[in-house]
Symmetry: C2
Subunit: 308 residues, 2 copies
């Protein structure tokens, strides 16, 4: 394959509606945006064999995931996602059809997330490498950081937990179902819009769950100087995860509390907050300095390392 940069970027951006805040999109030296308030920016690099595997994930889902995991970080600041730029490294042997499917996935997820793809770059590389940078608008709100949790706050989550980790276990054992778990491993269902909702509901801290719930809440506790206690009775135990646990002997709590790549949102709210729709209370902020489960130190895995 020898796709020129311009042709490829044109393909990715074809038919993609641009938001009102995009003054200039793809095609010049840089894009121009008109931000609403302060701007949030984050970047992530996804590498074939580390963050995805072509034999486990169709190109469409890989494209979706590259957008989703980045925009998730914008959501977790309480911002409204606005735009992305993408740099794509492709090996010489990449097939044009594969790249088109990837592009279609990028477009699909950008539409779900409500972001405009405003720029990009392509390069020849040894393996597929995708870097997405995502921007968001705070619309006059303060960012919701990791450091604002206070003792007595309640801990809540939005989105799915454990699905991506259980899906990985399924794939690693050579199976393709439960399909809903495999799909979450291929591309997480980010709870788009809930970042702003949480901010408006008074969230005191927020983080997206990429490493595993206990690990990421541990980052919040470290930044905020607090602890947390989670109650397992507050969590959903999806039937598909129970089936994987029964078949593999892995506790469902390993998936739910320590599985990574779900990109759910976890936030703390002042005690007494009536949680908005989509949010589930799972615990309370304590002064202990660590994250406990049902009042006990958790002895299982806390987090996640990518499979590469």
């Amino acid at each position: 394959m020898d796709v020129g940069e311009f042709e490829l970027i044109s393909d990715v951006t074809a038919d993609l509606p641009a938001g009102d805040d995009v003054l200039l999109g793809v095609g010049d030296d840089a894009a121009v945006l008109r931000p609403a308030g302060d701007v949030v920016v984050t970047t992530d690099m996804l590498v074939d064999g580390i963050h995805f595997r072509q034999n486990w994930s169709p190109a469409f889902q890989i494209g979706r995931k590259a957008v989703a995991v980045n925009v998730s970080d914008v959501e977790s600041m309480g911002a409204v996602p606005s735009a992305i730029v993408m740099a794509l490294g492709l090996p010489a042997e990449a097939e044009l059809d594969w790249v088109r499917e990837l592009s279609a996935g990028v477009r699909d997820e950008a539409a779900r997330a409500g972001v405009s793809l405003v720029g990009g770059d392509t390069a020849r590389s040894g393996a597929v490498v995708i870097t997405v940078t995502a921007l968001g608008n705070l619309d006059g709100r303060a960012p919701v950081t990791r450091s604002g949790a206070r003792e007595g706050d309640l801990v809540a989550v939005a989105g799915r937990l454990g699905w991506a980790g259980a899906g990985l276990t399924v794939l690693q054992r050579g199976f393709g179902s439960p399909k809903e778990l495999v799909a979450e491993q291929q591309c997480p269902s980010v709870p788009y819009g809930q970042g702003r909702v949480a901010s408006e509901a008074g969230a005191t801290s927020m983080v997206d769950i990429s490493d595993g719930l206990l690990a990421d809440l541990g980052h919040v506790c470290a930044a905020s100087g607090v602890g947390m206690d989670l109650a397992t009775s507050n969590f959903e135990l999806p039937e598909a995860i129970q089936r994987v646990s029964a078949a593999t002997g892995v506790s469902p709590w390993n998936f739910i509390l320590a599985g990574g790549e779900d990109h759910a949102l976890a936030a703390t709210f002042p005690a007494g907050t009536e949680l908005p729709a989509g949010w589930r209370r799972v615990g309370v902020v304590t002064g202990s300095g660590e994250v406990t489960v049902d009042g006990e130190r958790w002895e299982g895995p806390r987090g996640w390392t990518h499979f590469g």
Copy 2:
């Protein structure tokens, strides 16, 4: 080497002063910026063996270049560079000292460019891959695009032309001097600040010279629906380039008119504009639809392909 993401990003960002517009830097899910006016954003991916070679360039210069070539695109929109985020893919065999030198180069060039490094990501990859996304502020000015050149405008450049291309020829033939040309190939001297200066002086179009002067001016002509004629008598013929030409038999005009990677700025201004310091008039905008040199079609190379 097994450097954790946090440790590495901390190393890169140590002692780096953040601009007043950085409300939140490295360490949370995303950074937060307070933009001055509309925001410019651009991204570029640099791959080992394509955009740099470790045997031709020390890590310090590679880090500098990753920043320079991105910020150059912010300059060429007439914006003031403000911030960068960087995603860094590193092979297992990367040496910690090499990564620290790279980081030092990133910090050095960020300081030259006046940008704050506000976020990053690291990943394991087969070869070194560096993606930088650069942001800039327009401070109430309109962006200077490729499409605003008008017949009769004058064409001017700021920065060096031909140095990086001549430096590449030197390296390809196994030599290490003239050192000033090799240094420009390792990391171009971007004329920081001249993007804003050109915009304030009334530039009607602008582009940064990454592919070669004739090729990039060709992009401006296509976007603006105009032609240009350049006069060779208007250009500097640096003594170092003349020496390389004498030693290799390559015309100095191949380097100056068609050598890429210099990241000079080229802009058009209304006829009669008194050019600001740092800008040199090199030609005029015509209605011909093509870029000519001394009134003739240029028969030499027009642009650049990376050496990989």
